[in-house]
């Protein structure tokens, strides 16, 4: 800190005076005019200067303190997770804030000290530099550059519309296409490919895990917390009005943890089993007869707007509500959208009861689930 003054002591060496002249010469060479360049504190050792100096040093003292604090906190503070209620939970909760705060204060106080130093001890400067902007390059440079380019084109035979130029263009185009196909080829997949597992092109967006396979019964399985637990659903499991998230289950999957887990994670599987209040009048719809079991209806849980799960059920008005973009579906009209941005009704899952009284799905959804897409027939 004392350094700034030492070199400027009255009667400094001739070399220093030379330095000042050279500095001025440098600014002149760079077309910089120092309109104002004044050292602060022309009067040495005033109260104001000492105060300014203390101001800088206080900030940096804070830097030292909080820097050390950060290191100590990082190393010594109990940082391992303690559940709420356990002894030391508060200490754990405070670890990140205290660490962040001490690092932050160390950095910010260092910056503040430096800014005070700049503002109070650096010379007050107003420099003016000439831009030397030109409207464009000198005419001669432009003309000679254009001529050089033209000569290069001439010399190489790559003139406009020459055979070489056309052939080279074609070559570059073909090369680009080849490279592009090679690079992109690896990630392009045909959605309508039927050579693999899919039996038909519609096995992708039109079909879900509820699709009947080889006549095996598809049960409604409650979507519980345990990925491997199988809870089948009976009418008495759901009060009215009630709502339950269900996924498909087949007996062949019972001892297959991977398949049981997959049924919960496949994004087009989730369905909502609903029990409407007794005597709810649902408007009849052609083709939907027999898809419900009394007051029990099942619909796709995936919103037809942008795919969020439609999780909220207003029992009083028989409406389903999507929490993402606020589409509302009227259950008295087979989940027709009545408010918000959704355009299509939630597809219905046809359900029935098996001989033991468990819910089963008698087919896949009535329409593709989730957001609309180009190939979906209106």
């Amino acid at each position: 800190m004392g350094g700034s003054g030492d070199d400027e002591r009255p009667g400094a060496s001739a070399q220093e005076a030379d330095g000042k002249d050279l500095f001025r010469l440098g600014t002149q060479r760079d077309d910089v005019e120092l309109r104002r360049y004044e050292y602060p504190w022309p009067e040495p050792g005033t109260r104001a200067e000492k105060r300014a100096r203390r101001h800088v040093l206080y900030w940096w003292a804070l830097t030292v303190v909080s820097g050390i604090t950060a290191a100590v906190v990082y190393l010594a503070w109990p940082w391992q997770y303690v559940p709420p209620g356990g002894g030391g939970h508060t200490w754990y909760v405070l670890y990140t804030p205290v660490l962040g705060l001490s690092i932050g204060v160390a950095l910010v106080s260092f910056a503040f000290g430096f800014i005070v130093l700049v503002k109070r001890f650096f010379p007050e400067e107003q420099a003016v530099q000439q831009r030397h902007d030109a409207e464009h390059s000198p005419a001669e440079d432009r003309a000679t550059l254009a001529a050089t380019a033209a000569e290069a084109a001439n010399a190489s035979g790559l003139r406009r519309r020459s055979v070489f130029t056309r052939a080279a263009g074609l070559g570059v185009g073909a090369l680009g296409t080849g490279l592009g196909v090679t690079i992109l080829g690896g990630v392009v997949h045909n959605p309508w490919d039927t050579t693999g597992l899919n039996e038909s092109a519609k096995d992708t967006l039109w079909r879900t895990g509820w699709k009947p396979v080889a006549g095996e019964t598809v049960y409604l399985r409650a979507d519980s917390g345990d990925p491997h637990e199988v809870i089948l659903v009976r009418p008495e499991d759901l009060g009215a009005p009630g709502i339950m998230s269900v996924v498909p289950f087949r007996e062949s999957e019972r001892d297959n943890p991977e398949m049981l887990s997959k049924a919960r994670h496949r994004a087009d599987n989730p369905a909502t089993l609903l029990r409407l209040p007794p005597r709810t009048e649902v408007a009849p719809k052609a083709g939907r007869e027999g898809m419900n079991v009394g007051d029990f209806y099942a619909y796709s849980r995936v919103c037809t707007h942008l795919g969020c799960p439609v999780t909220m059920y207003e029992g009083r008005t028989d409406r389903l509500f999507c929490p993402c973009h606020q589409s509302m579906f009227d259950l008295r009209e087979h989940a027709k959208p009545i408010f918000g941005p959704a355009t299509r009704a939630l597809p219905q899952l046809p359900i029935d009861l098996d001989e033991s009284g468990y819910f089963v799905a008698t087919g896949d959804f009535t329409a593709p689930i989730g957001p609309s897409f180009w190939e979906l027939e209106p």
């Binding site: 902007d133 992109l184 897409f373």
Partner: protein
């Protein structure tokens, strides 16, 4: 702090000799450190963005050591008791591990997330400064275009970042993205298969986003930031009109020492502020959200702030699906694909739109005050209002809940507001600008209001104005110079300045100080 200009003798001088004998560049280097930079605070907004980006690179590198983008299903067995035994992806588990098992890892995560929010916010604010002062005009159109690209890529970088943890919130965001991709006519399905590797969600998307997030987009950002800064350096900053400022000069401080010291301090301060925010302000507590599961969602699911407006647009757009023989154009394409594309496209083209509106083809190094370009300022206010209405609509479920008003009503308010409010904002801003212009001209012609009202014997009252300039005792109208016009006597410093002093007592006058006989140990010189 050393004032030493001679390079010989010292260690630094020797090092300089070693370098200069191999790369003779003293003249170029002197020219660079003597370069004059603007002093106005608004020129630091872009630097805040740059320094947030540095923090993002550093904290992101740290996080990448611990994060694993794998979609492999695992059962959690870490120290966060609430999630033990829950099935989740390895990506989510490793994010939990960063939060609970890595010492200081949660701080790093939160700093990274906050830095991303501040990064985009600083870019947007910086862009506002450039826009409203006309700094994008010739010869700086290209740098404006690069800036718009930087903003777009920064938003994409933010999205790919917050989608990585595979928690319930980010999975919902990806589900929505999947719907948006599917909504593109003709190629939507193919594009979806290209991006997701099949039907949503698949196992490929998060590892791919990881590569894009840590390699592709940061590389692009770094390269474009390099070009952006090089162009600023080459073309020099613009400047506000002033007594000294001309089209032909640059007024400010030289790089060494003033600008470099301030800029370095700003870097330190931004880093410190982000560290403190990362510690004190909890952000994205993924352990509360739980792992992603397609049948779950929580109310109040919003993206990070810079994408809420797209979500808002998706909420407002009516259910207009267009049937096309055997095909359909999904309604969500308009708000989520077309609207953002048009907005970014308009921003990219704006320098040329402005040129067409103003018929101004000249070069400009001197900025305009927003009030002096009412159409441009009005258009800016219009776009800001448009985005703000969408942003408010993106959080309308939270607004409805907190303010206890009808959600349906808010949705309709947004639908009506998006049509009329931007227009109203344009008209209002335009007229406010014109009024401010007239106010400035009036002061220049008639003088400042003094607050003195003189009443004549016959009852007539006149409020007395102080002319800003006089010639032979007559008020002389001044031309408008594009600078702020003093409106009160205090604006000219006529009220004087406070006496210097400490907290408790004022400093003695300078002559008294001298009498105390200082030893001159720490004098300073004035070279001018």
């Amino acid at each position: 702090m050393s004032q030493r200009r001679s390079t010989s003798g010292t260690a630094a001088g020797k090092l300089f000799d070693v370098v200069d004998e191999r790369f003779p560049s003293a003249g170029t280097m002197r020219h660079q450190v003597n370069k004059v930079f603007q002093k106005h605070w608004s020129f630091l907004l872009g630097e805040v963005a740059l320094y947030s980006f540095f923090v993002l690179l550093l904290s992101g590198t740290y996080l990448a050591w611990f994060f694993d983008p794998s979609m492999e299903k695992v059962t959690y067995d870490g120290s966060y008791t609430m999630l033990r035994g829950i099935e989740m992806s390895r990506a989510y588990e490793s994010t939990l591990d960063i939060s609970f098992e890595v010492r200081g890892g949660l701080l790093a995560r939160q700093i990274h997330h906050w830095a991303a929010l501040v990064f985009v916010a600083a870019i947007v604010t910086h862009m506002g400064r450039i826009f409203f002062t006309g700094a994008f005009r010739k010869p700086r159109e290209v740098n404006w275009v690069i800036g718009v690209l930087l903003l777009t890529i920064a938003i994409m970088e933010g999205f790919t970042g917050y989608s990585l943890p595979d928690d319930l919130l980010s999975g919902t965001g990806l589900r929505i993205t999947s719907g948006i991709v599917l909504s593109i006519p003709v190629v939507g399905t193919w594009l979806h298969w290209l991006v997701f590797g099949g039907e949503y969600a698949g196992e490929e998307i998060i590892p791919r986003l990881f590569t894009i997030h840590i390699l592709l987009l940061p590389g692009l950002l770094l390269a474009l930031i390099g070009v952006h800064l090089a162009i600023v350096w080459y073309q020099k900053h613009t400047q506000f009109p002033g007594r000294v400022s001309r089209e032909s000069n640059a007024v400010g401080v030289r790089v060494l020492p003033g600008f470099a010291a301030k800029s370095g301090s700003l870097f330190t301060a931004v880093t410190g502020l982000l560290a403190a925010m990362g510690g004190l302000l909890q952000i994205n507590p993924i352990w509360n959200y739980g792992p992603y599961k397609p049948s779950h969602v929580s109310a109040g699911s919003q993206p990070d702030w810079y994408l809420i407006w797209v979500d808002g647009a998706a909420r407002l757009w009516p259910a207009w699906e267009i049937p096309l023989v055997d095909y359909r154009i999904p309604a969500v394409m308009w708000p989520t694909v077309i609207t953002p594309t048009l907005l970014v496209g308009a921003a990219l083209c704006y320098p040329w739109i402005d040129r067409a509106l103003t018929k101004d083809y000249r070069r400009h190094n001197i900025l305009e005050r927003p009030r002096d370009a009412p159409v441009r300022t009005g258009l800016g206010a219009m776009v800001i209002t448009f985005v703000l209405v969408l942003l408010a609509s993106g959080v309308n479920d939270i607004l409805a809940h907190v303010l206890e008003i009808s959600l349906n009503g808010l949705l309709w308010a947004g639908r009506i507001g998006i049509v009329f409010l931007p227009l109203a904002a344009y008209l209002l801003t335009y007229h406010v600008c014109r009024a401010l212009q007239r106010d400035d001209r009036k002061v220049l012609e008639e003088g400042m209001e003094t607050g003195i009202i003189r009443r004549y014997p016959h009852g007539h009252m006149v409020d007395v104005h102080q002319p800003l300039a006089t010639s032979d005792g007559e008020a002389k109208p001044l031309p408008y110079a594009g600078t702020p016009v003093p409106k009160k006597a205090n604006d000219l410093g006529l009220a004087g300045s406070p006496v210097p002093g400490g907290l408790l007592r004022p400093d003695p006058p300078p002559d008294r100080e001298r009498e105390r006989g200082e030893d001159g140990e720490t004098s300073s010189g004035d070279t001018s």
